[in-house]
Symmetry: C2
Subunit: 328 residues, 2 copies
């Protein structure tokens, strides 16, 4: 039997992770008997879960809150909570308070439980810990020189995770997620939004805006892979992980042109023609600083798997979000 | 005219930096008119300095203290204050409070001054940001995976320095000092103490203990070089630095055997015979995790210079600390 905690459970990945845990009823070869869902907004309640679920609205960066969140000594903690890149850049204090102090509060709360408590903590980091210029493919020993406050906060959290693990306070694994594509839901104003938008909107019968040239290359994995990474990280052997606890996750490196070609192949010319080119210099400037390709050998060696190609990413979106049908 | 602030002015490097600034009377091509010396213990007062010197005892990690330290808007800030590796490992809370929170408080205090204030901040980081296993020589893009809490705190400070610089709050440069050798003063219990001890004690007519095999390789620079790095970092052009603000300093990579051979060449067999081998498995285990060699191309390209070889390091110790004479 095992008990779990998801911090940031109301977000897109948190909701999908919760559904997967309910579906599996187990994680890391152990039956789940209790799951606690925490977020700043109350996570949705769930009908007929196969184990006890407790939901709580809580802000980890507020004094004392983290202590109460881990007081039940969950065996497994997924820490997904963060404010996104754009907001961390717009509001310096809030970004550091939530993304750095909130994470440190959680790790410190775990440390202070004591009595041999040493949970597996799976933390979602980001490829934003890297900043241009890059080699052709970023290897596992490349340095973290983020070009955003969000990336800085994630890189700091990674260092804390490693040190708290080394000191024996917890058993952490940091996983650097690729850009999640195809992200479900409505278009948003994130600079990266178009990577999903140019697939999601045309498949739903709507126009999508492409603000960058088709030569732009980026690193993607599906929401289903993101959940798979989290589940796999939960069951990794501590000895196999060693001292280096932060891993770049596998993904698919494709150009925007290759994304569109995959869409055309799967859904046809009419769907692909719903993409409208509208170059935006501001977005292009932001995107230029982003990673394009990785060689995530350690994660592959540890058994993490993403999609084989971008067509598979599109097919997963059609299966998981569109019930298998396309608006042709 | 320029004004300076040294935080951590009472330490070995701080004292030598103060002397150098008094001797030069200028830094970065500007005449110094005011220097503030801050440390947790009151920095020594100085006779007849060529400019106004204010000394203060202050702990940056205490609330509000950092704000008062930067209230005078110094143009140039040297931030050398830290507790050492052994203490940060022994006292987890104190290490994070001083080495992380203290530095963040200083950077935040600078940020909050506002009104266009944007001082050059020279921060002493450490090669402890790196953790084994290493390549033959650690290049400028190698990742930081520290194996001590001290190294973790320094790596986090580096990330903060880069982000606060990128956001325009300050103009930071982080310099990763090699192990300083020959460190003057009495033997201490630091695991790295023997690197200096096997030179310093024999030259002073005393026995030194060597706890590791002569094959151990490490990365050294003299105290004079450390001060030189700080002065050079103070005058570096911001544009030449770009976004990557943390630099591994040059040094001399030698084995312990090469250190001893250099000592023998300079001071003779009688002096070199004052080294007693007393293998210590605990110290050896610690030292195995330390960097051995670097390829610090960026720092060299920016004009930083260390000694050419270990003999030069010994000669500098004899000149600067022993008045040119050896106890033969």
């Amino acid at each position: 039997m095992t008990s779990g905690l998801i911090v940031g459970a109301a977000g897109m990945v948190g909701v999908k992770l919760t559904r997967r845990l309910i579906q599996d009823g187990a994680v890391a070869d152990k039956t789940i008997d209790q799951l606690t869902l925490v977020d700043v907004v109350p996570p949705a309640s769930l009908d007929n879960p196969p184990f006890k679920i407790e939901t709580r609205a809580a802000d980890l960066s507020a004094p004392g809150v983290a202590d109460t969140v881990v007081a039940g000594r969950p065996d497994l903690i997924f820490h997904l909570a963060a404010i996104v890149s754009g907001e961390a850049e717009a509001d310096f204090d809030k970004g550091y308070r939530v993304n750095l102090d909130g994470t440190r509060s959680l790790f410190d709360a775990i440390r202070k439980v004591g009595g041999g408590y040493r949970p597996r903590v799976v933390f979602t980091s980001s490829i934003a810990v890297f900043g241009a210029p890059f080699p052709e493919a970023i290897g596992d020993t490349f340095f973290t020189t983020p070009l955003t406050s969000y990336g800085t906060q994630k890189a700091i959290d990674e260092l804390l995770l490693s040190d708290y693990t080394r000191r024996g306070f917890m058993d952490g694994v940091g996983i650097r997620l690729p850009t999640i594509c195809v992200r479900p839901g409505k278009p948003n104003k994130a600079a990266s939004g178009f990577f999903s938008g140019i697939i999601r909107e045309p498949l739903a019968g709507q126009e999508a805006i492409l603000p960058v040239p088709e030569t732009v290359r980026h690193w993607h994995a599906s929401p289903r892979s993101a959940v798979g990474f989290l589940i796999h990280a939960a069951r990794l052997d501590s000895l196999a992980l060693g001292a280096r606890r932060n891993l770049t996750m596998p993904g698919v490196s494709v150009t925007v042109g290759e994304q569109i070609a995959a869409l055309r192949k799967i859904a046809g010319d009419a769907v692909a023609s719903r993409i409208r080119r509208a170059p935006d210099a501001t977005i292009m400037k932001i995107v230029e600083g982003w990673p394009r390709n990785f060689a995530p050998e350690r994660a592959l060696g540890l058994g993490f798997r993403a999609e084989r190609d971008f067509e598979e990413i599109i097919r997963i979106h059609i299966e998981d979000e569109l019930g298998g049908s396309i608006a042709r």
